[in-house]
């Protein structure tokens, strides 16, 4: 999934470099603030291990094979920010020493595999931990976290290739998500297997990882800020043509523009543009930022509500709810 040099155009790779530098810069600050030198040594040894575990190949259809990437695993075990640093180290070594992934595209690869990969894995696992602390919840959470981390990263690659003009969007998205959904199952099984083993043999390690993810509200705000900035910078690519539903609605003469304009409650940002701003590009960019932030707040509120609902419940009882 590493994007080589020459696949992304200047605006895309430089925007993603800014996103990666912001993310990794904050991750470095977070690690220095919250971890002592013993934890940093531990992160380094884990990074070496993740590099070695990438040797674990598993067969996919048609004689091809996928390999373990480990983003979700380090996110779950060390926390999302330390995990992002570990994966950045792995990606840097791969790009610099092995030519696996480009130099100009290193920012994109960090955003896709280190930031999206680690955060998706860690946040989904933590969401399941807030529902129940049982072994089943750990296994399901780690499997889903790792699976979605791979699929989301693959979708981000397809999006970046399309924005750069290197690929047709639907074809790239379908091919990337289809193959990576299969790879994601392998990644999910390995991650869930490792987490289940550690939960049985040395559960303390997973508790430490959970501690590192505590107070991650700030982290989520930072991540969504970066994503919002990216959304704003890419918003000028939004098509001015009607979407599929609108097209069919008018083309098939199901309804008219007058009926379509009639609404019970007026939308706060009609046509994805911030009202009151004359400059169209600024209005769309503003709507992109607000939309991304609102989505982030809603997801976080949902996670908090679920965790409060289950707080104080007997673990066995919550396991029943999950099952």
């Amino acid at each position: 999934m590493h994007i080589p040099d020459g696949m992304l155009d200047t605006k895309t790779f430089s925007t993603l470099w800014v996103g990666a530098a912001t993310g990794v810069g904050y991750a470095g600050y977070w690690v220095r603030k919250n971890f002592d030198s013993s934890k940093i040594v531990l992160m380094a040894v884990m990074a070496a291990l993740i590099f070695a575990l990438q040797m674990l190949n598993f067969p996919i259809a048609g004689g091809t094979s996928g390999h373990f990437t480990g983003g979700a695993l380090v996110g779950i075990m060390l926390g999302a920010w330390p995990g992002a640093i570990v994966m950045t180290g792995v990606l840097l070594i791969q790009a610099l020493f092995f030519g696996d992934g480009g130099i100009t595209t290193l920012g994109a690869n960090i955003v896709n595999l280190a930031i999206i990969g680690c955060f998706t894995g860690a946040l989904i696992y933590q969401l399941f931990q807030r529902i129940s602390k049982s072994l089943t919840s750990k296994i399901v959470g780690s499997f889903l976290g790792a699976f979605l981390a791979v699929v989301f990263s693959a979708a981000a690659v397809a999006l970046q290739l399309w924005v750069s003009g290197s690929a047709q969007f639907i074809a790239a998205l379908s091919a990337m998500t289809f193959w990576h959904a299969i790879i994601g199952v392998g990644e999910g099984i390995i991650t869930a297997g490792i987490i289940a083993y550690i939960a049985k043999v040395r559960p303390k390690i997973l508790d430490e990882g959970a501690q590192s993810s505590k107070g991650s509200f700030k982290s989520v705000v930072v991540v969504f800020s970066v994503v919002a900035l990216l959304a704003a910078s890419l918003s000028f690519l939004a098509s001015t043509h009607p979407d599929g539903l609108e097209f069919v609605y008018f083309e098939q003469e199901i309804g008219t523009a007058e009926i379509a304009e009639e609404t019970l409650i007026p939308a706060p940002m009609p046509d994805y543009a911030l009202p009151g701003i004359e400059n169209e590009a600024l209005a769309i960019a503003g709507a992109g930022i607000i939309g991304t932030m609102l989505t982030g707040v809603l997801i976080w509120a949902l996670a908090l509500a679920l965790s409060r609902k289950n707080k104080g419940k007997d673990p066995a009882e919550t396991e029943e709810v999950l099952e």
Binding site: I3, P4, D5, G6, M7, F13, V24, G25, G28, V31, R32, S37, S38, I40, V41, L42, M43, A44, V45, M46, A47, A48, L49, F51, A52, L53, M55, L56, M77, I85, V86, G89, L92, I93, A95, L96, F97, F98, G99, D100, G102, I103, T104, L161, G165, S166, A167, Q168, A171, A175, I189, I190, A192, G193, I194, A196, Y197, I198, V201, R202
Partner: protein
């Protein structure tokens, strides 16, 4: 240290020069044969001067071609109107040049990176990254990765060998479970190892940073290398305008 010209250059200057060259190739996306041939010729000549293994450089650089080739297959689909076989064939026939471009550019970039790797030691490259002000946490981590990655790989191979020799005819499901356990036990060992390493390092006066043995500064030779690479990158961009 040998006395070839590449060893006398500061590692951070070499890394910077490689990044400038890669930027030049990416921004110019060389499509005229003269530009492509000049990049290949210069990289190979520098590899020869640096006494790098040209064969290994070339072989390792070829690994990017299947990935770049697969991505390039998506390119003509942007121009397909009706998804009929004839339209697809026409789109591929009309766009073979940009597709080739999407393969050549990454290959040339990897060739440059392979020149850097094969003309420097790994510790030199880590030192160069430190001098380029990469975050300290990241440099420390990369140093440990360099130290322990081979140890971890050897352990993983040994564990895999033991698994295969003791249980050669297991079902796929049992194999997957055993690999999960194997990887899990490796992680627990890594945790224990991390604690032991830290204790050993503290006893030797570790303060959170790694001491650098060498203090190689930028010399006239390094400035010349950076200047020549910048000129070459600019020439590539102009040649392909």
């Amino acid at each position: 240290m040998s006395n070839n010209a590449a060893d006398q250059l500061a590692p951070h200057a070499k890394i910077l020069a490689a990044v400038i060259a890669v930027l030049g190739i990416v921004l110019s996306a060389p499509h005229i044969p003269l530009a492509v041939a000049s990049v290949i010729a210069i990289v190979l000549l520098l590899g020869f001067i640096a006494q790098a293994s040209i064969r290994r450089m070339l072989l390792q650089s070829l690994l990017v071609i299947p990935i770049a080739g697969a991505i390039s297959l998506f390119y003509p689909l942007r121009f397909v109107a009706d998804w009929q076989l004839t339209s697809l064939a026409a789109a591929y026939a009309a766009n073979w040049q940009p597709m080739l471009q999407l393969i050549i550019t990454p290959w040339l970039c990897v060739l440059v990176m392979m020149l850097l790797v094969h003309s420097s030691t790994r510790s030199d490259l880590l030192f160069g990254l430190e001098r380029l002000r990469l975050p300290r946490v990241l440099v420390l981590m990369l140093s440990f990765m360099y130290r322990y990655v081979d140890v971890m790989r050897a352990q993983l191979r040994a564990a895999h060998r033991s698994l295969v020799s003791r249980a050669p005819a297991l079902s796929k499901r049992r194999q997957v479970l055993l690999y999960g356990n194997l990887a899990g036990s490796m992680i627990i060992r890594a945790y224990d190892r991390g604690e032991r390493i830290h204790a050993a390092m503290l006893s030797r006066g570790f303060t959170g940073t790694l001491p650098s043995l060498q203090e190689q500064r930028i010399t006239t030779r390094d400035v010349l290398l950076l200047g020549a690479t910048t000129l070459f990158a600019a020439a590539l961009i102009l040649m392909n305008l």
